[in-house]
């Protein structure tokens, strides 16, 4: 890598470490100050640089991670209140509101829909596989696709 890019990479590395810190600690009570400390930055400069790279402030990114992680936990069947607390929200009301704004459905409705899909996959897996692959799985074709006449 060209030598003139090294200082830039050094800065990047600190911001990336802060992003990875959020990824690992989203369930805890953290704020931009904690994250800036992690990156060894002044709070203002850190927020500006973070946003220039990820398109979101650290706080916005933290919320996005929490909501995304909540989706994964809801898919395991974990009760909504437990999911809310596990991903770092204090209030079920604000969690439900944020979740609905971002995903178009409440956590409960999302969970019902995803669990129903999981049951459908378990009951009729072939219906989730595109046609020719489904035929291979079902054993109606014995070998690879042949050239059309």
């Amino acid at each position: 890598m060209p030598e003139q890019e090294l200082p830039k990479l050094y800065l990047y590395r600190r911001i990336v470490q802060a992003k990875l810190f959020i990824d690992a600690h989203f369930g805890e009570s953290i704020d931009a100050g904690d994250i800036a400390d992690e990156a060894c930055y002044s709070k203002y400069h850190f927020i500006r640089t973070f946003k220039s790279i990820y398109g979101k402030t650290p706080h916005q990114y933290l919320i996005a991670v929490r909501v995304e992680q909540a989706k994964g936990l809801l898919e395991t069947g974990m009760p909504v209140t437990e999911v809310c607390l596990s991903v770092g929200f204090d209030s079920l009301g604000s969690f439900t509101g944020l979740f609905k704004r971002r995903n178009g459905s409440t956590p409960s409705a999302y969970q019902r829909e995803r669990l129903a899909r999981q049951r459908q996959i378990a009951d009729a897996p072939l219906s989730f596989v595109p046609g020719c692959f489904a035929a291979l799985y079902a054993g109606t074709q014995k070998s690879n696709i042949r050239e059309a006449p």
Binding site: K8, Y12, R13, V16, I121, P125, V129, F133, Y137
Partner: protein, 133 residues
């Protein structure tokens, strides 16, 4: 006329390991993970911002697409790094590079400015490589 692609495949040596690589390291989303009995496992993922493209992580084995000989040849070719299956787009090259390096992803080529733009090349856990732009 053909309008879009909605499924494509990456041939992988081990589906559990590929799941870890594409989901936990690259951040892809699991779309469908279906156990198909003796025919194996239908495992598809979406790139994080592309929910309408399913990438099948297709195990190279005798369960579905390959016979014994072709599976052995394909496994050898994939492990040797023969195949480049596509290009992944990222929002910030250096941040992406630093994050994936921190997660243990191997890069065949570090980010560099080429005549076609800033790009890097990563290698998946099987040996398949992808341009990152």
């Amino acid at each position: 006329m053909i309008t879009k692609m909605n499924h494509t495949s990456i041939f992988v040596l081990d589906q559990d390991s590929a799941y870890d690589f594409y989901v936990n390291k690259l951040g892809f989303k699991v779309n469908t993970d279906a156990q198909m009995g003796p025919k194996g496992r239908w495992l598809t993922v979406n790139p994080p911002e592309q929910p309408d493209l399913e990438i099948t992580l297709m195990g190279i084995d005798e369960k579905m697409m390959f016979d014994k000989d072709s599976a052995a040849k394909m496994r050898e070719l994939v492990a040797a790094g023969t195949f480049g299956f596509g290009t992944f787009l990222c929002d910030d090259m250096y941040a992406t590079y630093e994050e994936l390096k921190a997660k243990g992803v191997h890069f065949k080529k570090e980010p560099a400015q080429e005549f076609y733009g800033l790009s890097a090349v990563l290698r998946d856990d099987s040996g398949n490589w992808f341009l990152v732009e």
